[in-house]
């Protein structure tokens, strides 16, 4: 029991989880941090989606749990105890197998936690399962199959094959020629602001479906073809988007802006940024799909992605001048608040002022035009989700919108810090 839980109307969920978790003891230590709490990813990948399921069990959702559900929540975790202990034991074995195989790529918790939970259900506790070490080794091999440079090489081989060049170029031409340029009413749809008002606290799933049915994301893309609009969003360096090249090379550093990336660069970026290639299609289908995607509204294939781009555009409004900005929605206010905290945090961390003369130009542009860096990162996230076949639902939107700004901010801090470390080399 974690310090006395006072008999009040509601109890912090984190306290209940910590309490129940402590009762599971050392058996779950591999899933715990050094303070004995479940790891952040234990909660995110195991407890939430597989044990507590707050999206289905509303009583287990939110920061506090009503006192009448306290016992049920504790029981849910304790009932899962044996499965979690077995998951932890499998995780140890899988890590050992990974070490033996010399694999260092990817995050072990992201890669194996849910696989270990499956193994726990298929085989029980590995200490009493026959051939556990072999099973663990196979699981590692399976997760890591079809990864690595081989795939990028095959992609490059496919797009640079002279016999296919004409065919791919033709496909790209016709995809862009077929783009509908119907005049759409570009007045902002009121549903977007309404959705942003509640997406952080209680997303409106019906409204989300309505936005999709009315193809609001597609309609919002119409303006992108007007002069300077897509450039103002930071999605291209050109006056208007033009058809991409097929491309034959790509490098992790200095990728062009999303709409200026070649087909090769778009796929390459997704291959290297995200470590879940097994859920992607085969190379020819990926390339053809990417060609069609490039000609689609927001250069994304799914309506849900396009709506999320429109939402992100509106939620990021004013980030480039947060002091004057008047929030247009709750989500907008939250992002503005994160960004205005960031300037204090950067001073506390004694990071360089991005406006300083010798800060690299691209870094300065990204910090001072954070709204554009934000939409670029959001586009890349949505693009990655499409390639992996991950649907974007109403409940995912705020995590995406907020997570993208956090990721942009953290990335900028790393770059600011590195710009100082490089300073010595220039002197």
């Amino acid at each position: 029991m974690v310090q006395g839980i006072a008999p009040s109307a509601a109890v912090p969920r984190g306290m209940l989880i910590a309490d129940a978790w402590a009762q599971l003891g050392d058996a779950v230590a591999p899933l715990s941090n050094p303070s004995g709490r479940p790891l952040a990813r234990t909660v995110k990948l195991l407890l939430d989606p597989l044990v507590l399921r707050p999206t289905m069990n509303a009583r287990f959702a939110g920061g506090v749990v009503a006192v009448e559900h306290v016992d049920a929540l504790r029981a849910a975790i304790l009932d899962a105890g044996p499965a979690l202990a077995a998951t932890a034991a499998w995780f140890q074995l899988v890590k050992k197998a990974r070490r033996r195989a010399g694999i260092t790529e990817g995050h072990p918790q992201d890669l194996y936690f849910q696989r270990c939970f499956e193994l726990a259900h298929e085989h029980g506790d590995p200490r009493s399962a026959e051939g556990a070490a072999r099973i663990a080794a196979e699981a590692v091999a399976e997760v890591h199959a079809e990864r690595g440079e081989v795939t990028v090489d095959r992609l490059r081989g496919f797009v640079t094959d002279p016999e296919r060049a004409a065919e791919l170029a033709g496909l790209l031409r016709s995809a862009w020629a077929d783009r509908s340029d119907e005049a759409v009413d570009a007045a902002p749809h009121p549903g977007l602001a309404a959705f942003l008002e509640h997406c952080a606290t209680g997303p409106d799933r019906d409204l989300w479906k309505t936005l999709a049915r009315k193809r609001v994301g597609t309609a919002e893309a119409a303006a992108l073809d007007r002069p300077s609009v897509a450039r103002g969003y930071g999605l291209t360096g050109r006056e208007r988007p033009v058809p991409p090249e097929i491309g034959d090379r790509a490098s992790k550093r200095r990728l062009p802006k999303p709409f200026d990336r070649s087909i090769m660069e778009r796929l390459f970026a997704a291959f290297t940024a995200v470590f879940q290639r097994e859920s992607m299609g085969d190379i020819p289908a990926l390339v053809v799909g990417e060609i069609h995607r490039s000609a689609a509204p927001w250069q994304l294939a799914e309506e849900s992605s396009r709506i999320t781009m429109a939402l992100g555009r509106d939620a990021a409004k004013g980030l480039d001048a947060p002091i004057e900005a008047v929030p247009a929605s709750d989500a907008n206010a939250r992002l503005l608040s994160r960004w205005s905290r960031e300037s204090y945090v950067q001073r506390v961390l004694r990071l360089p002022d991005a406006a300083a003369r010798d800060v690299p130009d691209d870094l300065r542009d990204d910090v001072l035009g954070v709204d554009r860096a934000y939409l670029r990162r959001l586009w890349a996230r949505l693009h990655g989700r499409e390639l992996r076949g991950e649907a974007t639902e109403a409940d995912d939107v705020w995590d995406l919108l907020d997570g993208v700004l956090r990721s942009v901010v953290m990335d900028q801090r790393d770059r600011l810090r590195r710009s100082l470390e490089r300073e010595g080399d220039r002197a």
């Binding site: 984190g14 941090n33 479940p38 992201d110 945090v345 506390v348 961390l349 004694r350 010595g424 220039r426």
Partner: protein, 388 residues
């Protein structure tokens, strides 16, 4: 006992005082809130920080912007009762609750503060009275020269990575541990063979290896750092100058330079001399202990002067021809202003509190150096171990 008032303004709930000045802020970015300790808070006396556990816990002030997210962990920082009070709209809290998570959060904040603002200096004159604390004052003359050594950044980051892992469940950044592990561990490797601190260093190395495996991070390795004799020395070359026609000095605004370049207690000096028929302004800024190479800019009377690190003299030095009419400028316009153009715009206004705050932080840091258990990085610096 910590007693904090609670203020609620719109969606923001503030527990305790407002954010301190960035230079004296030890910060943790938690999910849904900023937690901050004021480094100059009297309760933050070194004995309370890495002491023997006798001192009462020092709770952070908080700026909570998402109460629902913060509910998950507030009880670990303030105790269940104070957390319930914060969540239920109370106007104040009082708490004595302590927990390993609170201690880890505080140490993490402290390590990050040291990395950013630790005021290393080759020499600073302190009064024994300022030092305070009976143990520190014992046997000291009323005024004396002290050294605040620079801790190893590698050791600080190593300790910070371990503390980060202990509080990862309440941090805003879901990749905080991975990010914290992205540093050069050469300092720990070097310290492992030390007769006194070696065993701490080996424990730290083991802990980091475990973390690296659990988070899929390959710890960086780097070639051995350059030894001082490998560096080419900058040319000295101020021979032949006549006596100074004018000179002056000014402190360096440490918010205008990155950590680790400038001796925090040193004064930047300028002088004007005649040499070969020309008036030349020469500027010298004492470099911090273990300063790396960089180029600073000095501005005085409309002239901009690049200052290069001279490892031979331990100074950033540079010179330039004096602008026309320099000697006729009023003294106020002959104020020397030093900044790093890769760090600041050089337009910072004067801050009347800067000097007092800096002096207080130097005294605080010196107390930390004298304290018996100040954390591995400070201890290693205090005993003079040379580490990257």
């Amino acid at each position: 006992m910590t007693e904090f008032a609670i203020e609620r303004e719109g969606p923001v709930v503030r527990v305790g005082p407002e954010r301190p000045h960035p230079e004296r802020t030890a910060l943790v970015e938690a999910r849904g809130a900023l937690l901050y300790w004021d480094v100059l808070d009297p309760r933050s006396h070194p004995a309370a920080l890495y002491g023997d556990g006798q001192a009462p816990p020092v709770h952070p002030a908080a700026e909570i912007h998402d109460l629902d997210l913060a509910a998950d962990w507030l009880w670990e920082i303030y105790g269940p009762e104070a957390a319930a009070a914060i969540l239920s709209g109370a106007a104040a809290i009082a708490t004595e609750a302590d927990s390993p998570v609170l201690q880890a959060a505080r140490k993490l904040a402290d390590l990050r503060w040291i990395e950013a603002w630790w005021p290393a200096t080759h020499v600073v004159t302190l009064s024994a009275q300022a030092i305070g604390g009976p143990r520190a004052r014992e046997g000291l003359p009323p005024s004396y020269e002290a050294v605040v050594p620079a801790p190893s950044v590698g050791l600080l980051r190593a300790e910070a990575a371990c503390r980060t892992a202990e509080v990862e469940h309440l941090l805003d950044d879901d990749e905080a541990v991975e990010r914290a592990l992205d540093f050069d561990p050469a300092a720990i490797t070097a310290l492992e063979s030390h007769p006194v601190l070696g065993s701490d260093a080996r424990d730290l190395a083991d802990e980091l290896a475990d973390l690296a495996e659990n988070y899929g991070v390959v710890l960086r390795t780097s070639p051995a750092p350059a030894r001082p004799e490998d560096w080419t020395l900058a040319a000295g070359g101020d021979t032949g100058a006549g006596p100074a026609l004018a000179e002056g000095e000014a402190p360096v605004d440490w918010a205008s330079v990155p950590q680790g370049l400038v001796d925090i207690a040193g004064q930047a000096r300028w002088s004007l001399t005649h040499r070969g028929g020309a008036s030349v302004i020469t500027v010298e800024v004492p470099a911090a202990p273990k300063a790396r190479d960089a180029t600073l800019t000095a501005r005085i009377g409309g002239a901009g002067i690049a200052l290069h690190h001279d490892r031979d003299t331990g100074m950033f030095t540079g010179e330039a021809q004096a602008p026309q009419g320099f000697l006729r400028l009023p003294t106020a316009q002959r104020t020397l202003h030093v900044y790093d153009p890769a760090f600041a715009t050089g337009d910072a206004g004067a801050d009347p509190d800067a000097q007092a705050r800096r002096d207080a932080l130097i005294v605080y840091a010196y107390q930390r150096v004298l304290a018996s258990d100040a954390g591995l990085a400070i201890e290693a610096a205090a005993v003079g171990v040379d580490l990257p």
